[in-house]
Amino acid sequence: MTRLPGSYPLALLIALFALVPVGVLVSLASDTAQLFDTHNLKVLGNTLALMGLTVLGSILIGVPLALLTAYVYLPWRRLWLIVFAAPLAMPSYIGAFTLYAAFGPGGEINHLTGIPTPGFYGLPGAALVMTLYTYPFVLLTTRASLLGLDASLVNAARTLGMSLGMSLWKVVLPRVFNGIAAGALLAALYTLSDFGTPAIMRLDTFTRVIYVEYNAFGLSQAAMLSLQLLVIVGLVLFLESRVKATRERPGRRLTLWPSRWQVNALLTAALPVPLLSIVLPLAIFGLWLVREGTGGFEFSYAWNSAYASFLAAVVAVVLAVPVAHAAVSGKAGRLMERVTYFGFGVPGIVMGTALVYVGLKLPFLYQTLGLLVLAYVLRFLPLAVGSVRSSAESLDPSLVKAARLLGASPKEAFTRITLPLTLRGMIAGAALVFLEAMRELPATLLLGPTGFETLATYLWRVYEAGYFGRAAVPGLLLVLMSGLGLALMLTGERRGEFDVTEDSKR
């Protein structure tokens, strides 16, 4: 009596297509003899150390900020939340680049003020940068959990004679453990796949070593390292799937009303975070722009970025529609959707390595824009799928039924009801993919056709060549893209995470 939804065959095809990179890497890595050596062990140690420190740091910053933005009555609450969550939208290599250039002997701060500052490089530098750009994951997930708690438990603890601090520690934090863990695992995942930061900080993590191997024509060794990295990513993803959001009976939200000086003290204590992660990059790029102008920058870089990203956005949304509809239709469809999410877990450098090999095997793809667009699509398809799916889910199924009963054929119901009502989600999905692709660095470095310079790759060349000043225009444009991405999150489906006026309903 059940008929297979029409979107299944297409969705299955797209899901299988999303698995191509792994297949490629396995066949590529089987050529190499070197499974593991002492250098590998050091890379593994570095990667895990960076991940551990970043997770620790993002919890130390993210949890207090979550408490602050969820419970404390602040003037301009929404603005503060946006400020604290904003680093999420910035690519961390921007931060790594500017922090590296600002601090240390001969850095911009030393140069301008004469004050000697310690330099940021290696493990501490990379961990600091990664923390500054991943703590918003912890902030947002923890905050969502905090908003789901009933205030009366804290109030009960306080009327029983427990201090506020102790009640937060003993009554609140144990109940948001899963929220913190979910955010921490996202931070870990982001750290594992990030290429720019360890590369700029000169820390030999998997992503940096893969790039080095690739440049030394050790493609199969790069593939082996990629697979090892994927195993760690898989472990983190597995842990993440085990973390279940705990649901409590919703109640009134706790609000704390500190005195004015307490508010000022709290905000002052929190201020270094946005100063380092947002204000500093803007200041450094601004400084370079003033000092060196727009020299060396060509408009074609921005055009190339936009062109490739636009193609990726269109293709991703076209592919996302059947997958999203399959996901809403049934269990098997949800599984297919999960499979397409795989690309999100694959670090850009790994995706790049896999597709370079595909290009070598299929010469008509080698060094073409198509291959780069393919990499973007495989990586960012989940963003489009998620966006289209959530708008398809919020579509009341009785609307389509009503249209059918009024005499519309399935096709007419789709074009007159389903399509117009999910268009918003499709545009939002395309915009998300576009903005992510604009900022993508490692896969673009590996797959961009010769002479095809984008904003991100130009920034990288500038860093490699040491002409830091030339980074001003591409840097500012990338920050602008990040700002647009943030604005999109604020207006789109993730608005709930930023909503301070109402209790969390999710």
Partner: protein, 337 residues
């Protein structure tokens, strides 16, 4: 004319609707009532062609649908009014009502008749619940269905609104002269609005008859309890009269009940008078309802009887009272359980 023959619907291995038989006259309103999960909504969806059926046959005018030969919903010319209204959020009231109409005269007719003229260009999100339901009704009627299904059309509205809208919908359906199947879980709505009432239990139709018959001569204890307050007291049926501890009354046997029986008493079939130390029962609880009071009285043989009397009669919980059957019309009599 709609006719449903041996209709069954399964969800997996669970039978949700079991061999349903129905026939509807040309402008008849049939109310389907039953507790949550009795299969009411499933029946509507099956009639509309929104879910597959596993057995039986549905015939309406020119088409005939069976498990083997389904007819797609858009080919059935059946109208449906949804519980959650299902108004298209991106279209205005006017566009919703005219969804597939070339000639909008009929749409204007219903928009005016249901008092929606001022809201023609409003989007559904700005309407109140009652207005949304009127738009949904106008949209359904304007498309000239040969048969209308209403899926708990009032359950999302507040009580004050329900009462009026109930009659407005009935009036509109009668004006259009279309037969309708109206699903509800509200027994009061079922008894007052429908021409006939069908009571469902576990996917089976327990009784299908006029509201009066269903209420006064329920086919089962389930129907008796579902359609209002029901007390059962033991008695003996002799030559058409039931003799009980609190008086006797004419009896109508259900399922050929004879001898030792249970008599169905509605709260208004019994009189209650405060009785000092004597009397035949004690008040368990009393509820003040405004014009009336509802008492639960435990008779001396342990049976509980609910009695509704004028608010002027007062009796405190624990006090002794005298109950007496005062009805003159025949009461339903069931076999002793």
């Amino acid at each position: 004319m709609l006719s449903v023959h041996n209709l069954s619907v399964d969800y997996g291995s669970t039978r949700v609707v079991d061999k349903l038989n129905l026939a509807l006259a040309d402008d008849e309103i049939l109310m389907l009532v039953g507790p949550t999960g009795c299969g009411k909504t499933t029946i509507l969806q099956a009639l509309a062609g929104l879910i597959p059926i596993s057995e039986g046959e549905i015939t309406l005018g020119a088409w005939r649908a069976s498990a083997k030969k389904p007819v797609p919903p858009e080919k059935r010319n059946v109208g449906m009014v949804f519980q959650d209204f299902a108004l298209f959020p991106h279209l205005t009231v006017q566009q919703n009502v005219c969804f597939r109409l070339k000639d909008t005269a009929l749409a204007d007719h219903w928009i005016d008749l249901l008092g929606l003229s001022a809201l023609r260009h409003a989007k559904p999100a700005t309407l109140s619940g009652g207005q949304k339901q009127r738009v949904a009704l106008a949209r359904t009627l304007a498309h000239e269905p040969v048969f209308i299904l209403l899926d708990e059309p009032l359950s999302n509205l507040d009580a004050a609104l329900k009462d009026n809208l109930r009659w407005e919908i009935r009036h509109a359906l009668k004006t259009a002269g279309v037969p309708a199947l109206w699903v509800t879980h509200d027994q009061e709505e079922a008894l007052s609005v429908g021409d006939r009432v069908g009571i469902l239990n576990g996917g089976k139709l327990e009784q299908l008859d006029t509201p009066e018959t269903c209420f006064c001569e329920p086919a089962s204890r389930f129907v008796a309890r579902f359609l209002g307050e029901a007390s059962f007291i033991p008695g003996k049926l002799e030559q058409g009269r039931v003799v009980t501890a609190i008086g006797d009354a004419p009896g109508t046997p259900v399922d050929g009940a004879t001898g030792e029986v249970d008599l169905l008493l509605r709260p208004d079939d019994v009189a209650l008078t405060p009785a000092g130390a004597a009397g035949n029962g004690a008040v368990t609880w009393a509820r003040y309802e405004g014009g009336t009071r509802l008492f639960a009285v435990n008779l001396d043989d342990g049976t509980q009887v609910k009695v509704r009397v004028s608010h002027e009669v007062r009796a405190e919980p624990g006090s002794r009272v005298q109950l007496k059957v005062i009805t003159t019309h025949p009461l339903a009599v069931f076999n002793r359980e």
